[in-house]
Amino acid sequence: MSFLAANAEYFDGCSSRSRPVEARLCGNSVLQIRGEGVSLEVERTALRVGERVGRATWSVELSGGGGLAFAPTAEAEALLAALERRGAARFVQSFEHSRRWAVAALLLVVFAAWAFVVHGLPTLAARGAALVPHDVELVLGEEGLRWLDELLEPSALDEDRKAAIVGLFARAASTMPLPSAPRLELRRGEGIGANAFALPGGIVVMTDELVELSRHDDELVAVFAHELGHVFHRHTLRRLLQSSAVALLATLVTSDISSVTTLGTTIPTVLLEAGFSREMEREADDFALTTMDAAGVGHEHFAAILERLEASTGSGSIPEFLSSHPSTRARVENANR
């Protein structure tokens, strides 16, 4: 008669005494446990094999209390394999056991992480941004402006010029299909130089240096149109949601809670360092060119301010207006088409 047997430790469940025993499966239904002072016959239905994980000690619980502990030997493996129920746990065990599966699992995890960051996150961020009410977005924008103001100075333009530019902005915006009226904030750029930003909630920030760089009001209209393109597509909010999700993921991986910051404080970082994606810039450009057509503003103004901006950026950080990945040349050509 063939049987399976393995050495184990037996505990009676009442005391912490450990007794060496031999566990033997006779036939197919009864487990015999024999050792010094121990002689038990346990029905298969009255025991439960604990989930086996790697080569950590394997255990069997007996329904009367007490149990067996097996060192991970080949005999114990054969005995427990015969005793345990066939279920999902065994499937997982065979996964963990195989080196090939481990490599496959690793590749799949890396692929899933990549797919999530490249495709999942932008989609989720766009969906999430659509759910954010306008007034919440505006609160975020105000918070971002407060942080941006740490880097900027009040505008030094004279009041007449300021009023004229704000009027120009309002007129340009009124021709565009925006959900709510945007607002222009003028600032002196200092270290940041000629630049313009779109904040959540429709706040557009433009520096005096950019105003001084322009030679025609329609060039400013072109910049407004591009920034309002970002506003229309809620790019800053989407970018913000993406970067905070990445921060959250990084936190989960490294378990470092201290790296989580509130959303608003990251706006300057997003605008100045991360920038928008190639696709977002193209969307903003397309929006700008289409709305300029509708308002009867020539594309050459868009191309002119782009080229002048590029020529002016000898030092300092790259303006947001230029920070896109598509080359300025391609964008100028696109505008001239």
């Binding site: 005391s15 950590a56 481990a102 699992a105 201290s258």
Partner: protein
């Protein structure tokens, strides 16, 4: 053999049993990666099963006096707890992003239910662990949990941190002092004075580190001003360096403080612990622990998280193997508690919260 009557009173050197941890990073990596994959594929639901497999792996590799520990929780119970925890965490996230009044309400609710959750978690964790077929248990009361996790938690900021060492003392006394193994109770003998001493040392470390950090920041900003005068070719590099530098400084600072805290308080708490008449001793070395945590964090970052299983095993091995049991008599005579002879199939708890409590 029978020399008792004539022999002089012998000073019997108490037998010490060291805990051993035999898990390896390579083996755990395969368990970890399969857990991770299945958790992703099932959108997080498998995480409860993953938790049980991890705990069973860790318990089954922890040896004391020739026998290993065991973990008995059922994943479904953990899943329930996780769903509730996720809802609470979602509420908290919502609260931090919206109105301050809502935040106040949520924080109030948290203080109201946190002590109950902590108690459930401590009970669950103890009851799901066993050694040589005997379950652990936890006998802390809800009333004391409220004192420690609501009242004192509120008082610590109100007293500007003067109660912080006392709060830690009460917390560790609660978490460790009410543990029992079978019917044998633990007792917690550490004194509150030891906690004030440890926090004094820690304060000195924090002040020392702050001075060093201050000098470093001064030097960096000086260097930045000097290089700013020379006008860098492109200013793109500068903000990155500062951001990364700030992260590195924060990481170093946090690791040193955290490692020292864990090591010193761990020694105080565990050394003050008795299981019946057996003494439990810990010899954590702050410098060693800081070194392990720092290199772990660094390697996890460099490998984009893939080093995590090795890091966990390495830390656990250090923590486990620095704990010893000074045996009084033998370890065979513990008995099960009368009230809770848990059968193999029954004995599950209905409501379970599974949260990490640090200790």
């Amino acid at each position: 053999m029978d020399n008792a009557p004539s022999a002089p009173a012998l000073v019997v050197e108490p037998r010490t049993e060291r805990l051993r941890f035999t898990a390896t990073g390579g083996e755990y990596f395969r368990i970890w990666i399969v857990n991770l994959l299945l958790t992703i594929v099932t959108l997080g639901i498998y995480s409860a099963w993953a938790k049980v497999r991890k705990q069973r792996y860790f318990h089954g590799h922890t040896h004391l006096a020739g026998s290993t520990f065991d973990y008995h929780a059922r994943p479904i119970a953990i899943l329930k707890g996780r769903v509730i925890a996720a809802i609470l965490f979602g509420l908290y996230l919502l609260a931090t992003e919206s109105s301050p009044i809502f935040l106040l309400v949520v924080v109030g609710m948290y203080l109201l239910i946190a002590p109950w959750i902590v108690l459930q978690a401590l009970r669950f964790r103890a009851r799901m662990s066993s050694w040589r077929g005997l379950r652990f248990g936890f006998g802390g009361t809800l009333g004391e949990s409220y004192v420690v996790f609501a009242l004192l938690t509120l008082l610590v900021p109100l007293t500007l941190g003067a109660l912080l060492p006392y709060w830690w003392y009460r917390r560790q006394r609660f978490v460790l002092g009410y543990l029992r193994f079978g019917a044998t109770q633990c007792s917690f003998r550490a004194r509150v004075g030891s906690y004030y001493r440890v926090f004094g040392v820690l304060l000195a470390i924090v002040i020392g580190l702050s001075v060093i950090a201050g000098v470093l920041i001064l030097m960096v900003s000086l260097a930045a001003t000097l290089s700013g005068m020379r006008v860098p070719e492109d200013g793109e590099g500068a903000p990155w360096v500062i951001t990364v530098g700030a992260y590195v400084v924060a990481l170093l600072f946090g690791s040193v403080v955290n490692g020292c805290l864990r090591a010193m308080l761990g020694n105080v708490a565990i050394d003050g612990l008795r299981l019946g008449s057996h003494r439990i001793l810990a010899r954590f070395d702050a410098a060693k622990l800081v070194g392990i945590q720092l290199t772990n964090t660094l390697l996890v970052l460099v490998t984009l998280g893939l080093y995590t299983p090795w890091a966990q095993i390495r830390l656990q091995k250090y923590l486990v193997e620095r704990i010893r049991l000074e045996v009084d008599g033998d370890l065979d005579s513990f008995v099960t508690a009368q009230s809770e002879s848990l059968s193999a199939t029954g004995g599950e708890m209905a409501d379970v919260f599974d949260i990490d409590l640090g200790f």
